[in-house]
Amino acid sequence: MSQIVLKGRKAVGGTAEGEALVTKQTISTWGGVDAVKGIITERRHELRGQSFAGRVLVFPSAKGSSGWSTVAQVIRLAGNAPKAMIIGEINSLTAIGAVVMQVPTVTDLDQNPTEVIATGDWVKVDADKGIVEVTKKG
């Protein structure tokens, strides 16, 4: 089982580990996620129908609606938050979204996380240190 270590910076502190759910597509929580079910619902999204609850969500950034943190907060309140988030390029929506989702979040990594990490890989996130350890699946 190969291991990869990515270095980035803390967006929201804390540590967590879990199975990765990875997309190369941006995510809009409002109008693209069912917060209560914890799944992606956007019509042409590659993760449509998949659940991020309890996993480590790896995605390039947020697009779309300013309802991002509103839905992110409901995701948390509904118990559907991911264990951690790894965001390629953080922006205003994902930054405040991560704050209110209250999960360890890293960004600005030295390698593109959506290329290096695959869905199903085991990921340890130490957000305080900005370190991501990836154990490749199989």
Partner: protein, 424 residues
């Protein structure tokens, strides 16, 4: 983050618990963004009356409610006055015609509670996704903090003011303190173009600008496209509203340039700050056709709901839609909903547009978003719209299939009950 004296004071609670909690959130937010400091703002577009999962919203004490949902704490914090001039984005329902939407009495009560809170704390109950249509017109260079993804590029690209896409939590904290993290589109270099889009086609109406924006959003995502128009035209507010809404749906285009039109792009060189584009893309007949196909998810031509005015219709669009409906009748199987801002409806009322729409059997609705979760009429399966934003979101939000076309095609559909639109 490096804090000034007044920011430090707020963080230490010297100006009360509300500002302290807001600064706590803002410092976390700023650190997540990697910002080094704050900048002052006196122009915030808030999201305070919108709760897409009302079943999660239990407290009916407004201070408790806002503390929980906007200040993100179980502590009950009482806000005295927000500091910044502000407007508010859409609310959860039409505040007057909520029964037309079949909204619940309890959601209406929630809105009344929040209305009182707003009046007490100095929040403007404007309730629109288009603040620039109702008096919030920032100056070039003005630092703002706006929610609503379709309004943000109007602020940035069209007016040359400066904002990131703020969310409910960040906007409220910013309004309380008058402080926004200096990052993203507040900074010169991030406003420069990245992708050049050669627009080979004549983009001369709202539909064409929707298609162009939806294409650009999909290929540029969070980047800054620069449109080079082969056929020069100065798009008006209705067209730019379309471009902005579309680019923020398929992608996250929050800033762009149109060479020779938008204020930071007198020339191609200025738009790119003298640098070379990262990518050069062409928008021609094939891209236009593909974008149109992407937006049309329906196959059944029998339509249940025609939903127009997303973002809220402009004065020109209200006039045009009223003209199309004059002496017409909406088909018995179809609901026709037309959306605008409360303030623009005041003009529609005086000008007889509201009467014309009502006589035809349609509804002119305000204050909320036609994409509001779970608030389509019962049994709606097929929706027609003249908005690419609506066509993008409605399938995921309402579980419906959507036809996308022109205003004329939508009204034809409302009258005949059948979708007969096509790309010309």
């Amino acid at each position: 983050m490096k804090l000034t004296r007044d920011e430090q004071d707020m963080l230490e609670g010297k100006e009360g618990r509300a500002k302290q909690r807001a600064m706590e959130l803002l410092v976390q937010y700023g650190e997540a963004l990697g910002a080094e400091r704050f900048v002052d703002t006196n122009n915030v577009h808030l999201l305070i009356g919108f709760y897409p999962y009302p079943q999660m919203v239990t407290p009916r004490d407004s201070d408790e409610l806002i503390s929980k949902f906007l200040l993100d704490t179980d502590e009950r914090i009482v806000v005295d006055r927000v500091k910044s001039f502000n407007t508010t984005h859409i609310w959860a329902i039409d505040l007057e015609r909520w029964q037309v939407m079949e909204a619940s009495e309890s959601l209406h009560e929630l809105m009344e509670v929040i209305k009182k809170y707003c009046i007490r704390t100095g929040v403007s109950i404007t309730a629109t996704c288009t603040p620039y249509q109702i008096g919030n017109v920032p100056t070039k260079g003005e630092h703002c903090a706006w929610t609503e993804s379709s309004a943000v590029p109007f602020c940035n690209a069209v007016l040359g003011a400066r904002t990131n896409t703020e969310a409910a939590h960040s906007a409220f904290a910013i309004a309380l303190t008058g402080k926004v993290p200096l990052s993203g589109f507040h900074i010169d270099e991030n406003r420069l173009g990245t992708h050049l889009i050669d627009v080979e086609l004549d983009v001369n109406d709202v539909l064409e600008w929707y298609l162009l924006g939806y294409f650009a959003g999909e290929v540029c995502q969070l980047a800054v496209p620069v449109y080079q128009l082969k056929h020069a035209i100065t798009p008006n507010i209705s067209m730019l509203k379309a471009l902005n809404a579309a680019g923020a749906s398929s992608g996250g285009v929050m800033m762009y340039h149109i060479i020779g039109v938008t204020p930071e792009a007198p020339t191609l060189e200025a738009a790119f700050g003298g640098k070379k584009p990262k990518e050069v893309l062409s928008y021609g007949p094939a891209e236009r056709r593909q974008t149109y196909e992407n937006l049309n998810s329906a196959t059944d031509e029998r339509v249940d709901l025609v939903n127009m005015g997303c973002p809220h219709y402009s004065l020109e669009q209200l006039r045009d839609v009223a003209r199309l409906l004059e002496d017409k009748k909406v088909h018995e199987n179809v609901d026709l909903w037309i959306w605008t801002a409360h303030q623009l409806k005041a003009i529609a009322d005086r000008n007889g547009y509201t009467d014309i729409i009502a006589k035809a059997g349609g509804h002119l609705l305000t204050d909320t978003c036609p994409l509001n979760t779970n608030l389509f009429p019962k049994g709606t399966k097929i929706v027609a719209t003249d908005s690419a934003k609506h066509a993008h979101y409605a399938p995921a939000i309402g579980g419906v299939d959507v036809w996308f076309g022109t205003m004329e095609e939508c009204i034809d559909c409302a009258i005949t009950g059948k979708w007969r639109g096509e790309l010309k």
